[in-house]
């Protein structure tokens, strides 16, 4: 059993990992065909993850409904909303579940008139909380905080037309802040993260990192 639990996944990760990297850089026709097939398989695996996510979500909310814990009503809303959207998808404006999704009908109406406004509203509410949080926490307590504060004010003004209305220098200063200090910091972070991802990937491919097998370190 140790072969199925440990050796087989390690060999599989090694072979697919090395192949995945190799075919990306080798322009030979065979390598390119293999890359095409690997990407197709990956898409199929990815599609199955939706079912896994759905089952997990429904299980979580079902247990909350059963236990009648705090906010269980919201879990009921998840079930009702899912049921309504699912029925609209299956009905598909009279075309049935196997026809391409209809351009009009209940699903599209619910998406555009319920889901879109709800999503946009949730995001918009952030403006209120950011304003309140900025008032309370954005203080020039140290020289570094003062620099951050001044930069934020310049960028906030420079990114909207009122900045240019006040002075042409504000958008220029905002652009400089974004294209020089911001870029330098972001590039450093990006390189660090990328090197970390490469190192972790190599550790998984060569079987050094085995946490994905489950059961902890052996």
């Amino acid at each position: 059993m140790i072969f199925l639990r440990r050796t087989a996944p390690l060999v599989l990760a090694f072979v697919v990992g090395i192949l995945g990297i190799g075919v990306f850089y080798v322009p030979h026709e065979t390598a390119q065909d293999l890359e095409k097939n690997l990407s197709l398989w990956l898409r199929i695996v990815f599609a199955f993850s939706f079912f896994l996510g759905l089952v997990s979500l429904m299980n979580l909310h079902w247990s909350r409904i059963q236990q009648r814990g705090g906010g269980w009503g919201y879990s009921l809303v998840v079930y009702v909303s899912f049921g309504i959207m699912f029925l609209f998808v299956v009905y598909n404006d009279g075309d049935g579940p196997f026809a391409p999704q209809a351009a009009a009908g209940g699903y599209q109406w619910m998406f555009l008139n319920v889901h879109v406004p709800c999503g946009a509203t949730m995001f918009s509410i952030l403006a209120f909380f950011i304003a309140s949080a900025a008032y309370r926490t954005f203080r020039a307590r140290s020289p570094e905080a003062a620099i951050l504060l001044v930069s934020a004010v310049i960028v906030m003004l420079g990114r909207v037309p009122i900045g240019a209305f006040i002075s042409d220098l504000i958008p220029t200063a905002a652009q400089w802040l974004m294209a020089v200090p911001n870029l330098a910091a972001k590039r450093g972070i990006l390189l660090g993260v990328s090197l970390g991802v490469i190192a972790t990937s190599l550790r998984i491919i060569f079987g050094i990192e085995r946490a994905y097998l489950g059961g902890g370190e052996e």
Binding site: S124, A127, A131, A134, R139, L149, R159, V160
Partner: protein
């Protein structure tokens, strides 16, 4: 002073609400929108595509959901209006599951304004799961990645996509993103097939993408509602983004005033506390 320092957050909410709602109602309040170089670069990229053989073919990747819709939908509409007005053929795809409804809405709205027909002027391929693997697949064989369009017509039969075999057949690619897809487009698409890549993203994402602009992996960048308003100014078709600049400008100003007020109160309180400590000593 203590009261002002610990002001009730509902008062701040009221000011933000007024900062958003009053400028929306006062139409006379206008600020000139000046397009920045990064937005101009996307505009020039599409102009160059329009001058290529066959009038240009541009791939749009709609990678945002309803939460980013207020920022990215005006951007999508402006870019599509520019393409349709210049006779550029458009192929649209989605890498995010909640994007197709918004993509379809933007395509039908813009195409309707310029009498463009689905199939011969634009196509919508719908959503495919897999993010990076879809891009690799499209680079190898576009028709195997998207065998049919959104309404079930085979890709082979659509005039716009009949001759498209790979990502390198596109004159330009535009990614409208609210997530990590621009970096995927660079790693698995642009770097391999060397097409001009323009990105439209939410305002909070824009600073993260500046390194790719300087490296030349991205041709141009449209950031947030301000970027969308700049594009509307470039195509001389003011829309919701231009209108949105009024409340956004005033709200930014309100926020800055609150931050400055908070700092003034903080320093006054600190000075008073230091004074009273000195007096006690």
């Amino acid at each position: 002073m203590e009261k002002l320092l610990n002001i009730d957050r509902r008062i701040i909410f009221i000011f933000v609400f007024l900062g958003v709602s009053i400028p929306l109602l006062v139409e006379e309040l206008e600020f000139p929108v000046k397009p920045t170089q990064n937005v101009r670069a996307v505009h020039e990229m599409l102009e160059t595509a329009a001058q290529s053989d066959g009038g240009g073919l541009v791939l749009f990747s709609f990678d945002y959901g309803p939460s980013a819709q207020p920022e990215l939908q005006p951007m999508a509409l402006s870019l599509l209006r520019h393409c349709f007005s210049r006779g550029i053929k458009v192929v649209a795809i989605c890498l995010m599951p909640d994007a197709p409804g918004l993509a379809e809405q933007a395509l039908t709205t813009a195409a309707g304004e310029y009498d463009r027909e689905v199939g011969s002027d634009y196509v919508f391929m719908g959503y495919k799961p897999g993010f990076a693997s879809v891009l690799i697949n499209m680079g190898q064989d576009f028709k195997s990645a998207f065998p049919k369009d959104r309404w079930g017509t085979p890709t082979e039969e659509l005039p716009v996509t009949r001759h498209v075999d790979s990502l390198k057949d596109f004159d330009a690619v535009i990614d409208l993103a609210a997530g990590a897809t621009p970096e995927m487009w660079i790693a698995y698409g642009q770097e391999k097939f060397k097409f001009p890549l323009g990105v439209g993203c939410t305002a909070v994402m824009a600073p993260d993408l500046f390194p790719f602009l300087q490296s030349g992996q991205m041709t141009g960048l449209i950031g947030g509602l301000a970027g969308a308003a700049e594009y509307e100014a470039l195509i001389k078709t003011p829309g919701t983004a231009t209108i949105g600049m009024r409340p956004q400008s005033v709200t930014h100003l309100v926020l800055i005033l609150f931050i400055l007020l908070g700092n003034v109160m903080y320093f006054l309180t600190r000075r008073r506390a230091a004074g009273s400590t000195g007096a006690t000593a």
